[in-house]
């Protein structure tokens, strides 16, 4: 494997950067070269945030190219669509949280939030392998909607298990290293629930 590229898309406050660091740590623990390109918008909460995770022998620059992502972790459907059409390669893997976070343009009626069906249809056009579900709901059932990012990571790890350059255990170790102590147990549970979900998921 020369490169593995992961695009993480969401809105501010969803734990996007934490996910990229967890994946980065897991890759680092395998001695791989890693670059994480983090983007920061102006607003602190609710703005569009995406991270570039680049793993590979000849990785020097922080950002991936268009159509280069092997996987897209979409923490929010609209943001997933926005970054997915730009970065996901044909046949790439998309994990899509279907819980919408509305935008102001949509609220004030100057824009329309596409339906989940339309968004999924767009991914189908990319010939993406797509896993979609309301992962926020799963996180809420575990104990907090804020665990959604790690649920998505667990789903991703389950689906992509064979193509990833690191193991489940590497990811769990990275979670332990990155999450505050009192949140570790819940996060590991969220990861496991996501992983189990992936094993029972039939890709349509």
């Amino acid at each position: 494997m020369r490169y593995y590229h992961i695009m993480i898309a969401g809105v501010g406050g969803q734990g996007n950067l934490l996910l990229s660091r967890i994946i980065g740590d897991a890759a680092l623990s395998k001695g791989l070269r890693v670059r994480l390109g983090e983007t920061f918008g102006a607003a602190q909460r609710g703005g569009s945030v995406h991270s570039h995770v680049r793993i590979g022998k000849e990785v020097y620059g922080p950002l991936m190219l268009e159509d280069e992502a092997d996987a897209l972790l979409a923490l929010e459907p609209l943001e997933g669509l926005r970054r997915g059409v730009q970065y996901l390669k044909e046949g790439g893997l998309a994990i899509l949280n279907t819980r919408k976070v509305s935008s102001i343009d949509v609220n004030v009626g100057v824009a329309e939030y596409p339906s989940i069906e339309e968004i999924i249809e767009s991914f189908r056009k990319l010939k993406a392998r797509i896993v979609y579900h309301d992962f926020t709901k799963i996180a809420e059932e575990i104990g907090s909607p804020r665990l959604m990012n790690v649920v998505v990571l667990g789903v991703f790890a389950g689906i992509a298990e064979r193509e990833l350059p690191f193991t489940l255990e590497d990811l769990k170790t990275a979670i332990r290293g990155r999450v505050p102590q009192r949140w570790v147990e819940l996060n590991l549970r969220a990861f496991d629930v996501g992983y189990e979900f992936s094993k029972n998921y039939i890709m349509k």
């Binding site: 660091r21 602190q44 020097y60 922080p62 991936m64 190219l65 268009e66 280069e68 939030y113």
Partner: protein, 631 residues
């Protein structure tokens, strides 16, 4: 793995942010003193250093602005202590005065000045290329391409600065500062925070000394210009008849382009770590036997221009390409560099077209005030006031979260150019127009650069209304403390009203921006006051940043009770979602409002804008107890 948790380690590889790598390099280089004013993309450098301040015994502080931070670091260095100051590119304009003269006097301990430039203006008003400051000031500029090099380079420039008793500029760009890469840690030497100031004439820049300083400066510059040829961050790789010169961040893009075209060894690459001064001998050596040269650098053609000049002087006749293939504006990316390299070498390249078009429109997500932001009700009421009473106004704006007040529906920022400009520019406009000038500025920005223009306005008795939005913190850059922040362990709060009264402003009112009636009445009163008394009026709208409040409530284990819309009372007028515009409030299909309990922070500010009183808390709660957190 926090930066702090690495403080006791002296080896191992970790994933560090470029800015953290710089902080680590500074510690390994013997840093004793650090001062800065926050600014994206530079802020994490001081945040990292402050996080280990007590652990390692270094001195680190947030200063009131970049000039003061620079002067503090310069002073520390005069005592022989190794010092660092960091700023965003435009911050260097504020610090330019001491910067220019620091090269004349030289320093004692290291003085490392980090400038984090922002190509593509992700969070800035311009994309100035601060390498020119090095040319302008006779200060060497070092430019790392990734986090690992940033660490090694920072450590190196501390030694370099000490050796030449000369300040050094370390220039990053957003993608270097805000990307993570694998960094290998080294040992941190014993920290020294005290030194001795030896009195020398060179530090007193009266003209007679300044003239001597200039001669010495030129001698030093010549020595530095020679030594940069041996700096390990400048080197030649590969061989061939074509030479690519890559400065700073450009190196990463160039290496990947060569890998992409599989021509890594067939092209000569001159990697530049010191664009100012350029390693002349190394360049001549690399350029002597090539036919053509491509210079890749982010933003201006600084290296390209120097290369052309060196080649001209040395009679080397190679063709030099650069900005004609790369372009001047915005940050570099892989496609851009690959396209340029392909054209330069005559290779085939078609940039990946995003062939994948979505089946639907993807609406933009414009930035907006956070739920609970104290600025929202104030902007809402200002807009309503000027609309309803047809008040001719100019909203002279400033740099901070409140710049978002430019966006609809508020549209209450008509001019923004730099820190503190709201009062200064508003002053000029108030003389030359008949409109009511409302200067809108935040607390941290007010202390940063708002005081001199306010002094001027008081001095010249200028009728204008100044509204200071005081959320008691530098919020936009990540909640660094400001002089308006509550007393900390070693800091003392300076209430803005005391300063303003001390300047002689006679109309000073402190209001709660959540109280929209008070906002309306006070602004109207101030507008009448400035007309009647022909002098400025100052309103201070004080309430804590909601992000900090929510964090504190969560830490304290206080339940956040969201507000809800009473379906039968809501008439679907849309005031709350069309004009108040909180991310938590959305219209339903029947036009009635709905509040997302996940986003609502329970601030309750929306309840007072609802004409039918349809917005109430989900359940009763200890309002007073929660309110304490907001103050």
């Amino acid at each position: 793995m926090s930066f702090r948790s690495l403080a006791n380690l002296s080896s191992g590889k970790y994933l560090l942010l470029g800015n953290e790598a710089i902080a680590r390099g500074a510690l390994e280089g013997g840093l004793g003193f650090a001062a800065a004013y926050p600014g994206t993309p530079s802020s994490e450098i001081l945040e990292a250093l402050i996080s280990v301040r007590d652990l390692l015994g270094i001195y680190a502080e947030w200063s009131v602005n970049e000039k003061v931070a620079f002067e503090a670091a310069y002073g520390a260095s005069l005592a022989g202590v190794n010092a660092l100051t960091a700023m965003k590119h435009v911050g260097m304009n504020v610090a330019a005065d001491p910067l220019m003269s620091s090269a004349y006097t030289g320093v004692e301990g290291a003085l490392v000045i980090v400038t984090a430039d922002d190509p593509s203006m992700h969070s800035s008003q311009n994309e100035q290329d601060n390498r020119w400051y090095g040319v302008h000031a006779y200060i060497p500029v070092f430019e790392p391409f990734d986090a690992d090099e940033a660490k090694r380079m920072t450590k190196y420039v501390f030694e370099f600065s000490r050796r030449f008793k000369h300040p050094v500029i370390l220039r990053t760009t957003t993608r270097v500062s805000h990307s993570r890469g694998v960094v290998e840690l080294g040992p941190i030497p014993e920290v020294r925070v005290k030194g001795r100031f030896s009195k020398e004439d060179r530090f007193v820049t009266v003209p007679a000394n300044a003239r001597k300083n200039k001669i010495k400066l030129l001698e030093k510059w010549e020595a530095i210009s020679g030594v940069v040829n041996e700096v390990p961050f400048n080197r030649v790789e590969g061989d061939g008849k074509a030479l690519i010169i890559a400065s700073g961040s450009a190196y990463g893009y160039v290496r990947e382009a060569l890998d992409y075209f599989k021509i890594g060894e067939k092209v000569k690459v001159l990697k530049i770590g010191t664009p100012v001064p350029l390693p002349k001998e190394l360049l001549i050596e690399a350029a002597e036997d090539v036919d053509k040269i491509l210079v890749v650098e982010e933003l201006d053609s600084l290296v390209e221009t120097s290369v052309k000049s060196v080649l001209h002087d040395s009679g080397i006749d190679a063709e030099v390409r650069g900005k004609d293939l790369i372009g001047y504006e915005f940050e570099l990316n892989h496609s851009r560099v690959r396209r340029a390299v392909a054209k330069f070498l005559g290779l085939e390249y078609s940039a990946p077209q995003t062939v994948n078009r979505p089946a639907v429109e993807v609406p933009a997500r414009i930035p907006i005030f956070c739920p609970g932001c104290p600025y929202r009700p104030l902007f809402f009421e200002l807009r309503r006031l000027v609309n309803q009473e047809k008040i001719p106004y100019i909203a002279s704006g400033d740099i901070g979260c409140y710049s978002l007040g430019y966006n609809p529906p508020y549209k209450m920022q008509d001019v923004i150019i730099e820190m503190g400009s709201s009062i200064g520019v508003g002053y000029g406009l108030s003389i030359t127009t008949d409109d009511n000038v409302l200067a809108i500025i935040g607390d941290s920005t007010f202390y940063h650069a708002g005081l001199p223009p306010l002094v001027n306005a008081v001095w010249h008795r200028r009728p204008m209304v100044v509204i200071v939005l005081d959320n008691e913190v530098t919020a936009m850059t990540g909640h660094q403390p400001a002089p308006s922040s509550k007393d900390g362990g070693e800091t003392h709060r300076i209430p803005i009203e005391n300063v303003v009264s001390g300047l002689g402003v006679r109309f000073v009112e402190v209001i709660d921006p959540f109280d929209i009636k008070a906002v309306r009445e006070t602004v109207k009163k101030a507008l009448n006051y400035v007309k009647e008394f022909k002098e400025p009026a100052v309103i201070i709208a004080r309430r804590r940043c909601a992000l900090e409040v929510v964090r504190d409530l969560r830490r304290a284990g206080v339940e956040i009770v969201p507000y809800v819309v009473l379906e039968d009372k809501c008439v679907g007028c849309g005031i709350c979602y069309d004009w108040f515009v909180c991310p938590a409030i959305m219209p339903k299909d029947n036009k009635k409002a709905w509040i997302d309990p996940e986003l609502c922070v329970g601030c309750g500010a929306c309840a007072q804008v609802c004409p039918t009183k349809a917005i109430i808390p989900l359940k009763t709660y200890d309002k007073e107890g929660v309110e304490k957190f907001w103050r």
